[in-house]
């Protein structure tokens, strides 16, 4: 229990530090009046807005107002859409979530078999080729690969659409693309694009895991029992090497969401990443702040959950923290 509280406090600290940094960065550097008020406003409007937004108050008072608003889920109103920034982001989050989950699914489906093969034959031609390709996966600039996908599959071959989400179906009050054939065809290229980098990561993890597990006694024992090689690999080996893969993928989920910024821009996918970029370009500060605070919250939550699962699975972690 002490461990849980300790972790929770650490998470809250991170959120607090980020809140201060974001506030100082967005509201204190540069002139907030220029950033927060549209350039077409006249003098009377500017003064009215300054008073309404409390920009005439001392900085610490403004900060308290910002924190108070944040706690009530109010991070300001977008200039572009004239809607609360938090609601704007939450409305676009399902699109990003769908894209990120599809990408992780693809990375696992492709990466695990390749990684296991590379791990079983680390010095063979196939194993080496897989590892070389995975270096390429790390090096390829995501946005450029996405453009090449569009060029080949959308422009030249005309097989798949390249922009937007396509048809969506409303389930539980949220619109999803993956439930319609048309939506799936729209989802395929962006998800593949976002999956590339993570596939390389999964290959490396699966390869390392396989090489480690393969030397264990229970694998030798399973083979000695006369089990077929397929069964040894699929049941005994795969189960044990999945632990680090699942952990890392859990932690990487946040980074997939962050990286979706690039893929969403290339494929005009209406998620939170595309919203962030257009907000930065149009200096829509409240949306930027809301995006950052919600992302920080997402990251802290993921880390907290992973820490908790670790502590449940591994008693040593609990004892070490207590000592």
């Amino acid at each position: 229990m002490g461990y849980v509280i300790n972790r929770l406090m650490q998470g809250l600290m991170v959120i607090a530090v980020m809140a201060v940094l974001v506030f100082v960065g967005v509201y204190a550097i540069g002139n907030p009046v220029d950033m927060l008020i549209s350039p077409e406003a006249d003098q009377a409007e500017i003064e009215a807005t300054i008073i309404r937004m409390g920009l005439d108050k001392p900085l610490w008072e403004q900060f308290l107002g910002f924190v108070g608003g944040a706690l009530r889920g109010d991070l300001g109103t977008s200039f572009m859409y004239n809607e609360p920034a938090v609601r704007l982001i939450l409305a676009r989050f399902p699109a990003t979530l769908e894209l990120a989950l599809a990408a992780i699914l693809m990375a696992v489906a492709v990466g695990i078999p390749l990684g296991v093969i590379a791990g079983l034959r680390p010095n063979g031609v196939v194993g080496r080729s897989i590892m070389t390709v995975s270096i390429l996966g790390f090096s390829l600039p995501t946005f450029w690969v996405g453009m090449m996908f569009i060029m080949v599959f959308a422009v030249s071959l005309g097989w798949l659409p390249s922009t937007g989400r396509g048809e969506t179906v409303e389930v539980l009050g949220v619109r999803w693309s993956f439930l319609t054939a048309n939506g799936l065809s729209h989802l395929f290229l962006p998800a593949l694009n976002l999956a590339l980098f993570k596939t390389s990561l999964v290959i490396r993890l699966a390869r390392a895991g396989t090489r480690e597990v393969i030397t264990q006694d229970y694998i030798k024992f399973a083979r000695a029992k006369g089990l077929s090689e397929t069964r040894v690999i699929l049941v005994h080996m795969l189960k044990n090497m999945m632990i680090p893969v699942v952990t890392v993928l859990g932690l990487e989920f946040g980074s997939v969401v962050a990286f979706a910024v690039v893929t969403e821009t290339v494929f005009a996918w209406p998620g939170i990443g595309k919203l962030l970029i257009s907000s930065i370009v149009h200096l829509d500060r409240p949306v930027i702040v809301a995006y950052l605070m919600l992302t920080v919250l997402l990251f802290v939550t993921i880390n907290f959950v992973v820490d908790l699962i670790y502590a449940i699975l591994d008693p040593r972690v609990r004892r070490k923290e207590a000592a």
Binding site: V22, S139, W144, F259, T265
Partner: protein, 306 residues
């Protein structure tokens, strides 16, 4: 087989007089792929440095551009005579020249930010390891906090605050990278500071700065070289990504990422070359650096050394 024994035999004789640097060079040269990567990168870097001399035209001298030469495919004849090897963009800008000039910015930003971040990270890491206590804890918590978030997100935050510009992108990249160096240096320095030569230096009463920079620092450098090589590739790729997203370098100083972004709209109409060739250049640059870094890591990893 005989070739291999011949190659290693004289090296073994020299082992007693070989400095660590010479050993590094010998091992590096032995790997053809890594050597090839280095050769390709050096060729690219040279082309970037010499761009004003070897580029067929100055892509930013608007007077030198002819709108009649716009959107010519690779190898196409120019209206005014001559051929464009990699084609031209809408304004009649020669893509080969644009790529050569773009490389200058991409490599300059990548290498420049890495060197600055290396210096900062090195100083912070040494400071943390050598001081210990709360100073160490403070620096390392900061590092943990930063490495807990994906680099692209931190870069976007910083650029959203700072605005566009080559200098701003460099600031963002430096802010991103220093933490990796600080962590690597600290880990290494903690091991090194317990060794006898540091104790000996202390017993001699050498000043603090001389122990840290004269004795501790040189022994912490090898793993940093690997991290720095990989980071140059990361920095170049990230700069390209940020510029593509429209938050990186300004239109007046287009890097490779900017060129790719500019060609995005034309790609839909089948004019692939405006984006394709800058992309290939970016890819080759990043891969060649990664190959060198990957091999350096193998050479410098003490666990793999015999």
């Amino acid at each position: 087989m005989t070739e291999a024994t011949l190659a290693t035999a004289p090296a073994h004789k020299e082992v007693s007089v070989e400095t660590p640097a010479q050993r590094l060079v010998r091992k590096f040269v032995a790997n053809r792929i890594a050597l090839g990567g280095l050769a390709v990168f050096l060729a690219i870097a040279l082309a970037a440095v010499l761009a004003p001399l070897i580029a067929p035209q100055n892509p930013y001298d608007l007077a030198g551009l002819d709108i009649m030469d716009g959107a010519i495919p690779p190898g196409g004849e120019a209206f005014s005579g001559g051929t464009y090897v990699l084609g031209t963009d809408e304004q009649g800008r020669d893509m080969l020249s644009a790529i050569l000039y773009g490389l200058r910015i991409s490599i300059g930003v990548g290498v420049g930010s890495t060197v600055i971040a290396l210096a900062i990270g090195l100083a912070m890491g040494l400071f943390a390891a050598y001081s210990g206590g709360w100073r160490d804890a403070l620096v390392m918590r900061l590092v943990d906090l930063q490495l807990g978030f994906p680099p692209i997100l931190i870069a976007l935050i910083l650029l959203a605050i700072l605005g566009r510009g080559v200098d701003k992108v460099m600031i963002a990249l430096v802010a991103l990278q220093w933490a990796y160096y600080a962590r690597t240096v600290r880990g290494n320095a903690l091991v090194e500071r317990r060794k006898e030569y540091i104790e000996a230096a202390r017993c001699l009463g050498l000043p603090y700065a001389r122990i840290v920079f004269g004795h501790l620092m040189p022994n912490c450098l090898p793993p940093l070289i690997v991290v720095a090589t990989m980071q140059v590739a990361h920095a170049i790729a990230l700069e390209a990504t940020l510029s593509f997203l429209g938050v990186g370098v300004p239109v007046t100083e287009p890097s490779l990422g900017m060129l790719i972004a500019n060609g995005f709209d034309f790609m839909m109409s089948g004019r692939y070359w405006v984006s394709f060739f800058p992309g290939v250049t970016l890819l080759v640059t990043v891969v060649s650096i990664n190959l060198v870094g990957d091999h350096l890591r193998d050479i410098l990893n003490p666990r793999l050394q015999k």
